[in-house]
């Protein structure tokens, strides 16, 4: 009666040792894997920073203004070319809206189809 119990206990101990060692080995393997991923993350972060620097340079208002003028021939609007609209100055529209500028804004936001 004692022998099977000891055998079973020994087997269970063996299984436990096997699992314990297996888990530990797997954790070490994951450790190396994590290290590799950490390296990849650092490299991607470096690339991200380099790209962000490039974007920031490209979005420099000074550069944009220079390119707009030199490559596209853009010039600053002359006096009178930009019209400022006062809310009070606009007549009410026939659409029934009390606030014409609100209509303009809705129109711009939704881009409805024009017949």
């Amino acid at each position: 009666m004692k022998k099977p119990v000891i055998l079973i206990l020994t087997m269970l101990l063996g299984v436990w040792c096997f699992i314990y060692v297996g888990i530990n080995v797997d954790m070490w393997r994951l450790g190396y894997e994590l290290e590799g991923l950490e390296g990849q993350r650092a490299e991607l972060k470096r690339q991200h920073e380099a790209l962000q620097a490039q974007i920031s340079k490209l979005m420099d208002p000074q550069q944009i203004a220079r390119r707009a003028a030199q490559q596209l021939g853009f010039t600053a609007p002359r006096e009178g070319q930009v019209v400022m609209i006062s809310l009070d100055a606009l007549p009410p529209l026939e659409t029934g809206s009390a606030d014409p500028v609100q209509l303009v804004q809705n129109f711009l936001d939704s881009q409805p189809e024009v017949p």
Partner: protein, 588 residues
Amino acid sequence: MKVSQADVHPNCRVRSGFLCLGLMVGFVLVFCRLFYLQVIQAEEGARQAEQQIQKTVEVKPVRGMILDRQGHPLAMNVEAASLGARPQQVLDPQRTARSLAPLLHESTGRLKGILTRNASFVRVAHPISEPIAEKIEALKLPGLKVEKVQQRMYPKGTLGSHILGFAGSENQGLGGIEYQYETLLRGHENLVQFQRDALGRTFTQPQGQAMDRVPSGYSLQLTIDEVVQFIAEEELAAVVRKSEAKSGSVVMMDPMTGEILAWALYPTYDPNRYQDFSDVERLNWTLTNPYEPGSTLKIVAAAGALQENVMTPGTLIYGNDGQMPIAGTIVHDPAKSSWMTFSEALARSSNVGAIKMADSLGAQRFFRYLKAFGFGEKTGIDLPGESPGKLSDPSQWSGRSLSSIAMGQEIAVTPLQLVSAMSAIANGGRVMKPYIIASVQDQHGVPVQVNSPEKIRDAIYPETAIKMSRILELVVERGTGRQAKLEEYRVAGKTGTAQKFDRDAGAYSSSNVIVSFLGFAPVDEPRLTMLVMVNEPHVGKYGGEIAAPAFKKIAERVLPYWGVLPGGAHIIQTASALAETSSRTVVQ
């Protein structure tokens, strides 16, 4: 078959007994040793094991970024290659220098000098481009080492350079915000532990606590908008060039909050190449060097006189036909006038009028208002090197001082003090503390500190501020500041033309002047207060003809950019877009 005890040779029994005893003693010894190592010496053993597999290194933090109010980077970090050398390990300095010279565009002699220095490590070139770094590495010259280091980079070049300052070769802040907030931006060194196996490979303990190996300093978000800053710098450069002036500056502030919206100086410099510029060129002289403001300071005497009810906007002031004797000298007005109202005196920028306003207050009360508006003391802005200006106590004033200060002489102020004082008139009498850092953020962009508007004191009552606003609007409508007038917005302001004191001659120069325009817009809902200052112009002579148009050009670009329309609307359309939109709306 079972073997009985009697069948075993006695010698064998003794031997097996000894063997069992030996094994038992052996096991007991091993057990005792294990017990000693695992239980008694457990801590020491663990420590030794850790020492063998763990390596602790000090990691320098990544410097925090500086962002504009929209979150666009103004100062950031990039990885750059750097070439260093250990002179003792360089076998043939002459040959090494000759090989490097064409790649680095340096002379062989200079490089040889660096490579033969008596130092353990020298930096040969920094930064170097990636292709050049690869070429140098391919040469495999002994004693040389190409390293990757973090380098400060200013992606917008000269934009806002006098405010940002710059960081040196070791990434330490040396000027402006970079210097002022060095501790926050730099962050703290981090001790990072790596685990190494017997082969020297690093690995991570999965059960270990996750942590950022490379720490980062805090990032700073400014109140400055890069587009507004660009507009200010562009228009400032244009006016300085047009007037053939020596230098100029623009300071723009939100009068309601004290937020600095733009701060431009001309000539400017590129912080990416800070070594190419002198200390003087890199200095934010508008903060450190106060100047005599001239007529822009007349707003203080006027506000004081109205506040104390010693005068009203309609009070008649005798103009003395444009000249007034003061302590043995004659003060002249640009235009002769006999009688004028208080408002007209300010609109015409009458010296006689300003003197009479200050006289009506008296020295003590006038001094009190100068102090109330913040002159003679630092504004407390979070930038390094701020000057308090110069305002002496009335007990030290001469017989001429009251009149001189009323006209903006015998007093030294900074542009920021002037903008702050004008903001008080714009916002209803409150002197706000100017600030340029909107928030401090951690490396994940989460704000850890948010700055909010702070009132320093009330300088005048709101009713007085409203009266002053109307009078200053008159300056722009019909007075010396007409060229600052905008078609679509109500503008209030004051011109200034200050003669510079010639130390050699011991008198005010008639040719060297500082011209300025100090104003705010829109009057009914002020969004900006701005000072345009031009130093020593050679084409043109008055603030009204040089600085006022620049104010107008900046304001007429900035206000629509913010979506500010007359009447409080917030939409802008070009004429063509408007026509198109209107027709479509009608069809709809």
